[in-house]
């Protein structure tokens, strides 16, 4: 049975474009233009993944409200925010509404698709208990790219898909400096270079919440970032 993706977006052209993309990729797509309608329909039947716009018609931040409602219904439902404003990324991250990722509206369909499939992979991995674990262990860090999970000293760190991919690129070759361009490529994201910096900043903050002494992500001035192995 095909997976269901719910798209809540008030701009018809964008909504249609997304819907047609995912239908072509074999998903079942449900589209909604405003919060009330989406809220009613989705609470009846949860989709497998939700794609939410932040501003819905007159509802300046209807997307956040909807996200909270959905998260209340299901803590595991993958939710991706579509953002039109650069400032929104910070708002999404700052509010901790429980989104799994956020994508700029001007990002290409390819990037959106990559994130959607990554989230589905994580959901699937979370469901099954595969013995063939591809977990990367790097000191106290354990990163499982299939299950999209990160553990630090055994505690789960709640990273978005983008952040996880950036972290994965760093720990795949610990100690090697990764430039911002490389990290952007690895994260399969379309952002400007400054956005990488804020991603890194948010990741550090998330690690620091678990371990205030966290300093493994190191900035190399003028070059990029690297993962510093414990004992370096």
């Amino acid at each position: 049975m095909p997976k269901t993706i719910a798209i809540v977006e008030d701009e018809p052209a964008i909504r249609d474009n997304y819907a047609e993309l995912f239908r072509r990729q074999g998903y079942r797509v449900e589209t909604y233009a405003e919060r009330g309608e989406a809220s009613r329909a989705l609470s009846q039947r949860l989709p497998d993944l939700a794609l939410l716009d932040i501003a819905l018609g007159d509802d300046y931040d209807g997307g956040f409200e909807l996200c909270r409602e959905l998260r209340a219904l299901s803590p595991t439902l993958p939710i991706i925010f579509l953002t039109a404003r650069d400032a929104d990324i910070d708002v999404v991250a700052g509010l901790r509404v429980g989104a799994d990722d956020y994508v700029s509206k001007s990002a290409s369909l390819h990037q959106l698709g990559a994130r959607v499939s990554a989230l589905f992979r994580r959901a699937d991995a979370g469901g099954t208990h595969d013995e063939k674990d591809r977990t990367i262990t790097c000191g106290p860090l354990q990163l499982n790219p299939d299950r999209m999970r990160v553990l630090w000293h055994g505690d789960s760190v709640d990273l978005t898909v983008t952040e996880l991919w950036i972290l994965h690129a760093l720990v795949a070759h610990p100690g090697h400096v990764k430039s911002r361009e490389q990290l952007m490529e690895a994260a399969n994201t379309f952002v400007d270079l400054a956005t990488i910096t804020s991603h890194i900043k948010r990741m550090r903050r998330k690690f620091a919440q678990i371990d205030p002494a966290f300093d493994a992500i190191e900035a190399v001035y003028g070059a990029g970032y690297r993962w510093r192995q414990t004992g370096d």
Binding site: N17, R85, L109
Partner: protein, 683 residues
């Protein structure tokens, strides 16, 4: 960069303080005025004193002999009897007489070739007579030069003696007999003398006993070479002989009693010979005892600026016996006079006044009263010193005060400058707030003004940044549409491609629309430059446009109220119609479904108000809805919305000299927003 010293406020204020130097000048002028006043008063006082002394002298007998008539020429001279402190040597040389140089009586022939200086003195019981004669050719012998004396002896007889030496040296006096008598050839043994030639003549020293003669004596010199005669008086008759004048003992106490302090009073006979003298001049130096307390330069300065306008330089020592000088000469010829003279080697100026002593048959003498101006100088000096001191003090205090004040001002200005510099970065970004100055003066005001300007600039910068973000957002949506449509077109089959391409085209059209909106704002300025004001009926324009609005927005009812009568205005119809268009667009955008939009047009005098009301959400608080790129109220975004509409309305209002305002309002029972244009365009 700190300004150079002469550009600084401090220097300029110091420069201004130089005007204080006007104070000593003004003071000096005042002192001069005072001095002139005091001088006049002193002159007046001296004249008065002299007159009163003259009045007293008028009634005194026995002191004055003879009188001068105004205008008469003085032909004969009485001889003044000087008291000699020590006995002169009878040697024919003048050494002993040097001290009395100023008291010689001078006799002179008309042609000036023959002249004699005569001095009469008494020491103990002898009379001494000194004759210094200028005579180009001295001759001795029977027909040589001779000196004749005529006097009344103790037994009231007129006697005449002749001295006609054979050679220089000891001389004898030959008796020439009495009145009308011929020479009897006897010698008067009590008269002794010495004759000595000098370079330009001769000197004769004579000694005779005081008892030999009473107080009548005439002197005659005969020059044989030029056959000229020089005489001090007649040689006969007996009562026409010249007199020996001596200071009157009776006069001294009388004069002393009327002489004011620091004043010298002289009384002369009609020939200017001093018969009485009293008092003494103030001998303190003009700057008095204060001198020691003054720095030398102040002393010098005061001396330099004190006026000393003496008429003549002349000395009148206190032992002067001949006062045939101005102003006594004037007095003797009948005119009271005064004179300012400056003695040599003295800072003081002596003021003198002379008045005649009149008698029945002429002027029998004169009174000369003298005072130094030291008293005035002293007052002046004191005033100048105080002036100097006060000026110096005032100058110092004011300069210091100004300097402190200027420094205070300068430092406050500098501080303000530093704070402004700190608040704005090198590249013009506003770094922080400027704390407003609490002072209530102009600098404080300037500081507050800077603070408010910086705040406004900061807000404006903030607004510009927000506008950039907003532009990005507005452009991103159509950009996403185009991009995703092209992505889809790439990935989908041929049959669907047209749909995606059409959608991409839609997106580009929306981008273009955004650009058009932006251009509209800039184009408006162009339109306003070229706009022409015409007179037209605003009501009919509103009626006409309302019909068009209803066609354009079929889902919203738009009514024009109160536009039945004509509203003549002078304005630019195109601009007003555009503004109305924007107002209605805005109202329709925000109206609640089912409510209606009303347009009213009212006129009060010249003021015309166009008001558009829509039922709907209230205005956001604290926001100027007329700013560009502002769209705070949540509206339906069917169209790209840049928030430029009301901004254009405001520009058009300002162009017509009016204002635009927005307020929450109620119409009937519908709550909503009214946006009005208030324009002074009525005709």
């Amino acid at each position: 960069m700190r300004p150079r010293f002469w550009h600084r406020v401090r220097f300029k204020l110091l420069l201004v303080s130089l005007t204080l130097l006007g104070i000593p000048w003004a003071g000096y002028r005042f002192i001069q005025e005072t001095e002139s006043f005091l001088r006049d008063a002193q002159d007046q006082a001296l004249q008065t004193t002299a007159s009163s002394v003259a009045n007293i002298m008028h009634g005194i007998d026995g002191v004055f002999h003879g009188s001068a008539r105004a205008g008469s020429v003085l032909t004969f001279r009485n001889l003044y009897l000087h008291r000699l402190g020590k006995q002169p040597q009878l040697d024919g040389y003048r050494d002993d007489w040097v001290h009395f140089d100023h008291n010689f009586t001078t006799l002179q022939s008309v042609d000036g070739r023959l002249a004699a200086r005569v001095f009469l003195g008494q020491h103990e019981r002898y009379l001494y007579l000194l004759l210094g004669v200028t005579d180009p050719a001295v001759a001795f012998g029977e027909d040589g030069d001779a000196v004749d004396l005529a006097f009344i002896d103790g037994s009231d007889r007129l006697r005449r003696l002749r001295i006609q030496p054979q050679a220089p040296g000891w001389v004898v006096a030959r008796d020439m007999g009495g009145q009308g008598a011929t020479a009897d050839g006897n010698y008067e043994a009590t008269v002794r003398g010495e004759w000595q030639n000098t370079q330009d003549g001769y000197t004769l020293e004579l000694r005779m006993p005081r008892e030999l003669l009473q107080d009548r004596l005439s002197l005659r010199l005969l020059d044989s070479a030029s056959d000229q005669v020089l005489a001090s008086g007649r040689l006969f008759p007996a009562d026409a002989l010249g007199r020996i004048v001596s200071p009157s003992a009776a006069l001294e106490p009388l004069l002393a009693s009327v002489t004011p302090p620091a004043t010298r009073v002289w009384v002369t006979d009609h020939q200017g010979l001093v018969v009485g003298r009293s008092g003494r001049l103030d001998e303190n130096p003009p700057l008095g005892a204060d001198q020691s307390r003054m720095p030398w330069f102040v002393h010098d300065l005061i001396l330099a600026i004190l006026p000393r306008d003496a008429d003549v330089y002349a000395d009148i020592p206190s032992d002067q016996t001949h006062l045939f000088v101005r102003p006594v000469i004037d007095a003797l010829s009948g005119r009271p006079a005064s004179l300012r003279r400056q003695p040599t080697f003295s800072d003081a100026v002596v003021v003198s006044a002379a008045v005649p002593i009149r008698s029945a048959d002429g002027i029998k003498g004169a009174v000369l009263v003298e005072q130094t101006t030291n008293a005035i100088l002293s007052i002046q000096n004191l005033a100048l010193q105080r002036l100097f001191g006060v000026t110096l003090l005032l100058f110092a205090v004011t300069s210091l005060g100004l300097l402190v004040f200027a420094s205070l001002l300068a430092s406050r200005i500098t501080r303000l400058r530093d704070r402004v510099e700190e608040a704005v970065s090198h590249d013009g970004r506003i770094m922080g707030k400027l704390l407003p100055d609490m002072a209530r003066d102009e600098i404080g005001d300037l500081g507050r003004s800077f603070a408010s300007v910086l705040d406004r600039l900061h807000d404006y910068n903030h607004y510009l940044e927000a506008m950039a973000a907003r532009m990005a957002h507005e452009l991103r949506t159509p950009l996403a549409v185009v991009r995703h449509s092209l992505d889809n077109a790439e990935q989908s089959g041929i049959d669907q491609r047209d749909v995606y391409l059409a959608r991409a085209r839609d997106g580009t059209e929306r981008l273009e629309k955004i650009l058009n909106r932006l251009r509209e704002a800039t184009g408006l300025e162009q339109a306003m430059r070229e706009a022409e004001t015409v007179e037209f009926d605003l009501a009919s324009l509103v009626r006409l446009q309302t019909g068009g609005f209803n066609d354009l927005h079929p889902d919203c009812q738009i009514d024009a109220v109160g536009v039945d009568g004509p509203v003549p205005v002078a304005a630019v119809p195109d601009l007003l119609s555009q503004a109305l268009d924007k107002l209605v667009d805005n109202a329709v955008d925000f109206h609640t479904v089912g409510s209606r939009v009303t347009i009213t047009c009212t006129r009060t005098g010249r003021d015309v108000r166009i008001r558009v009301f829509n039922g709907g959400p209230p205005l956001p608080e604290g926001v100027d809805v007329f700013q560009s790129m502002l769209s705070q109220r949540s509206g339906r975004h069917r169209e790209p919305h840049l928030g430029l509409g009301l901004y254009l309305v405001r520009l058009i209002c300002e162009f017509h000299g009016g204002t635009a305002m927005a307020e929450n309002g109620v119409e009937g029972d519908v709550h909503g927003v009214a946006v009005s244009m208030l324009l002074p365009i009525g005709r």
